[in-house]
Structures are given as C-alpha cells and as structure tokens.
Amino acid sequence: MKFESLTAFFYMDGHGIYIWAAYGLTLVILAANVWFPLIARRNIIRAEKSAVLKAMNRKL
C-alpha cells in the first residue's frame, strides 16, 4: 500500500482532484455505455411484445 492513511490516499499530495476527476469521469462514461444498451433492450422487448399482442388481438 503506497499511502499511510485514507486522507493521504484521497489527497494524493496535491494531485487528488485531477485523479479523482479523471477516474470519476471514466466511471461515468463506461457505466453509461453499459446502461444505455440495457435500457434500450428493455424498451425494445416491451415494444415488440406489445406489438405482437396487438397483432394477436387484431387477428381475433
């Protein structure tokens, strides 16, 4: 472990703000890249299921 205490870990002798900004943004962008396809998948499934159902009703 390169840091004595937790605060030193966050402070990172002056560069902490940049490191955490960079890592935070990376987390946001990578998470977004996973999140959007999942949401899109849910919407696609819901939309197509309702379309199938509607087609079924129209046939009846």
């Binding site: 390169k2 840091f3 560069h15 940049y18 943004l25 990376t26 962008i29 998948r41 197509e48």
Partner: protein, 245 residues
Amino acid sequence: MLNWFHRLGSPKTFFEISGRWQVPLLSLAVLMLAGGAAWALLFVPPDYQQGNSVRIMYIHVPAAILAQSGYVMMAGAAAVFLIWRIKLADVAVKCVAPLGASITFLALVTGAIWGKPTWGTWWVWDARLTSTLVLFFLYIGVIALRSAMDRQAGVGRACAILALVGVVNLPVIKYSVDWWYSLHQPASFSLTEKPSMPIEMWLPLLVMVIAYYLFFFSVWMMRIRNEILVREKNTDWVKQWLAVR
C-alpha cells in the same frame, strides 16, 4: 474456418452464441477494470517526475489505444459488409460508432485532465491528443452520416465507404500530426513517447488495456444484440424468443 465465419454471419446464430457469452464477458471486463484501477491507484509507486498524477495514465492510454483500434475494427466490419454483403457486418458498423466515439471522448478528457498537473493548462496541442481529436471528428462524421441517411436504402454502404476512406487516411493524419507537433515543439516529454517503465508500472497498464478491450467487445455485443432484435423483429425465432421473455 470459412463455415464458422459464414455461420456467424447469420443473425440468429450470432444471437445465440453471444447470448451465452454476454454475461461472463461483461462481468470479467468489469472485474478486471475494477482490479486494474485499484492496482493503479493503490499499489503503483508515484512517478519521480509527475508524482501521483501518473495514475491517470492507466485510464487514458488504454482509451487512446482502444479509440484508434476501434476505428480500425469498424473499418474492418465495413470492408466485410461491402465485400460479402453480410447484414450483420452493417449492424456491427452501426453499433460500434457511438461506442468508439465515447471511448475517444474519454481519451480526450482524461488526456486534458492529465495535462493540467503536468503542464498547468487544461488543453495542450500534444501530438497524441490532437490526432485523437481528429479521430473523434472521424467518428462524428460516420455517426452524422448514419443519422442523416437513416431512412435511405444505401445508408449501410455509404457509412461503410466513409469508414474505409477514414481508415485509409488515419495513418496519414497521424503521421502528419506527429510531424507537425515535432515541428513546433522540440522533443520534450509528451504523452507520445513511452518512457521505459519498470515492470510494476506497465503490468497494471497491460491489465487495464485488456480490461478495456474486453469491456469494448462486451458492450459492442450488447448493442449488436439490440439491433438484431429490432431488425429481425418479424422473424419467428425472435417472436419465439420474445414469447419466452
């Protein structure tokens, strides 16, 4: 080998195969990302010149590498689509463009943030950052053309042509930007050179690069699966698959 390649071309087979690999691949990628980040933050010794800000390298360099190879992979899929007219290749090109653009944007921003403690300014016209910026415009071009021609029949082939034109120009752009940078800036420390790093510094970098690639492929696969569901919605295998969901 060709048979496998051809079989993979059919959306149904690809959907099944990717279905099995999706969750393990994504979880492995996330695991490696977390592990690599923790390693980079906690165990890597601070750099004698830059101090702790070198830790940003572990998220910037893989993103920059991935941004470029992402474009080459897109061009590869574009070539496959133009030559063999495999519909899945067009789906692959369509899905990778936004993903590649986001990774390039990530590389740009982390590069800028890394520049602040190192040179004191947010943006520096460094060779690698500038060519990443131009690469970002290339991605934006493909995305813009895709959305502008969305309704037209030839959208797939047009974007494939643009991707190939872009990849042919990529080395020329990279070379001219590197040359341009060396013209105005006598060789000082820049992000481009890879100083010979001790093993405990480049090993986590290798882990992070592999993690980024795994992540890239798993998200790409997710997007392709969504697009297959949309494009093949009238087929019976999708209807059966939906019925089970």
